[in-house]
């Protein structure tokens, strides 16, 4: 072939190849996406007892009712625990998209509690995505029970306990894993043998079984450097549950060895043992109301 013929052929080819680039290829080229947020790591603001990274958005009000029955091994007289119950109510609100607060009341130890939670970072997908959702949680809790020993000097401050926690989570398709490094401080503990400060590391997970159904689990390993010498042996809280979602409600049903539904209670004071059958059936109901919708 003569060189000029070849040249023409090349031009033709280049020309047609540009023309042949169809609209769909152009579309794919132009719609390359930046990082997108990963949503719904958890369906409710609690995994089971403890917090999840699920944040209330600005203007969302969450009304929660939690219930724990007695121990299933308490026998037929107690109707396998169903005769007894502990209740916790709370109202929680999203002040900002990243900042939520809540107050609550529990019958277990007659507590009043409050928390502040700040969402530091969110997991993303796509190019240059941030891999984790991270939140910081701070809680305060006051026990309202009458003093066990009124004859001694009892300080008001002795009623309080505090918790600081980091929530670090990542969603892998249907599975979400969360780690919770935790620090609990109790102003007053029952005996000298008990520690005022507790370190714990929690791990929680959620596995999505269907669009509105998920399996959840939660465990806290509480670091107790001194061998326990108190009469009441403490266990690490372990819980399993299901999340069932219907519209604005999330219904959580669970089995757990802890009676408390607040960090001060279940991290430091879980007295039930799974091995001995000290298991509580329980449920949480969450109802989210959107108080101020974004104006569009």
């Amino acid at each position: 072939m003569k060189p000029r013929n070849l040249l023409f052929l090349i031009f033709m080819l280049v020309g047609t190849s540009i023309k042949a680039q169809n609209l769909n290829d152009l579309l794919a080229e132009e719609s390359t996406d930046g990082p997108q947020p990963v949503e719904a790591l958890f369906k409710a603001t609690r995994v089971i007892n403890g917090h999840s990274v699920r944040q209330l958005k600005k203007g969302e009000l969450d009304y929660r009712i939690s219930h724990r029955f007695g121990r299933v091994n308490s026998g037929a007289y107690e109707f396998f625990g169903l005769d007894q119950s502990n209740v916790h109510f709370s109202l929680e609100y999203g002040l900002l998209d990243r900042l939520m607060v809540g107050i609550g009341r529990g019958t277990y130890e007659k507590t009043i509690d409050a928390f502040v939670r700040y969402n530091i970072a969110n997991q993303q997908r796509g190019k240059g995505a941030f891999p984790l959702t991270i939140s910081y949680l701070s809680t305060i809790e006051a026990i309202g029970l009458k003093w066990s020993d009124p004859s001694r000097t009892n300080y008001f401050s002795s009623r309080f306990s505090f918790m600081q926690q980091l929530l670090i989570a990542r969603k892998f398709s249907k599975m979400t894993i969360q780690l919770m490094p935790t620090f609990v401080h109790r102003n007053l503990v029952p005996t000298e043998m008990d520690q005022n400060d507790l370190l714990a590391i929690g791990v929680a997970g959620r596995y999505k079984l269907a669009n509105r159904l998920a399996l959840t689990g939660e465990y806290y390993y509480v670091v107790r450097p001194i061998p326990q010498r108190t009469t009441q042996k403490m266990y690490n809280p372990l819980s399993f549950g299901f999340d069932i979602e219907t519209g604005g409600h999330v219904f959580q049903i669970m089995l757990t060895n802890s009676q408390g539904m607040r960090e001060g209670g279940f991290i430091g004071k879980t007295t039930g043992s799974w091995m001995k059958g000290d298991i509580h059936l329980g449920f949480n109901i969450s109802r989210v109301f959107t108080l101020n919708s974004k104006k569009k």
């Binding site: 000029r4 040249l7 023409f8 031009f11 033709m12 280049v14 020309g15 047609t16 540009i18 023309k19 609209l23 769909n24 152009l26 579309l27 794919a28 080229e29 132009e30 719609s31 996406d33 997108q36 947020p37 949503e39 719904a40 958005k57 969302e60 398709s173 669009n211 509105r212 979602e245 219907t246 519209g247 604005g248 989210v288 959107t290 919708s293 974004k294 104006k295 569009k296």
Partner: protein, 187 residues
């Protein structure tokens, strides 16, 4: 010598037709949908629709991320992606079609032209043939495409549980508005 000129002219001509400016595009097109029931109204808007439109052939393509739809209530938005669109599995919805009556549009004259678009709409991994009427508004080098048409989510395999059946309309009103600009290929 004469031959050479002919060849060169031909080469140039083939190149020019190839890069002819007949393609329009947008990355900020609007697609919204509206569901009305006596219980609640659901309204969602997406301002990040990518679309190409070839005025020579009448071909149109659209691509839209499920996650870029904005709802008034954050919980609605989450349910939309998690429970209905399953955006994890099917991140995009797309349309590929053609303007059937392209001849009625005069792209050199500003004005509003009613058109019919037919093609394949893919939502939730399900592709259906669809036809919609719309308007093309031509204003110099800008073209605006508009259309309103109904879709039934259940046609696209989106299951709506009976507890919320009363809250979500059987048929939703989809609104499309695209402000096209001339597309120049990236170097």
């Amino acid at each position: 010598m004469k031959n050479k000129i002919v060849w060169l002219t031909l080469c140039l001509a083939s190149f020019l037709t190839a890069t002819a400016q007949n393609r329009y595009f947008t990355k900020t097109g609007h697609i919204g949908f509206y569901s009305h029931t006596s219980i609640e109204d659901i309204n969602a808007i997406n301002d990040q629709v990518t679309s190409f439109f070839d005025i020579a052939t009448g071909e149109m393509v659209f691509s839209v991320l499920g996650r870029s739809f904005q709802f008034a209530k954050p919980l609605m938005q989450e349910h939309f992606n998690e429970n209905y669109m399953e955006s994890e599995k099917f991140p995009k919805a797309s349309f590929e079609g053609k303007i059937a009556d392209l001849k009625t549009c005069d792209f050199t004259n500003s004005g509003k032209y009613p058109v019919k678009v037919a093609g394949k709409l893919t939502i939730h991994g399900v592709t259906k043939d669809i036809e919609a009427a719309g308007n093309l508004t031509i204003d110099k080098d800008k073209i605006t495409g508009e259309s309103v048409f109904p879709i039934n989510p259940e046609d696209y395999g989106i299951r709506i549980p009976s507890v919320v059946r009363q809250n979500i309309a059987e048929s939703m009103k989809v609104t499309v508005q695209m402000n096209y600009q001339l597309y120049t290929a990236k170097k």
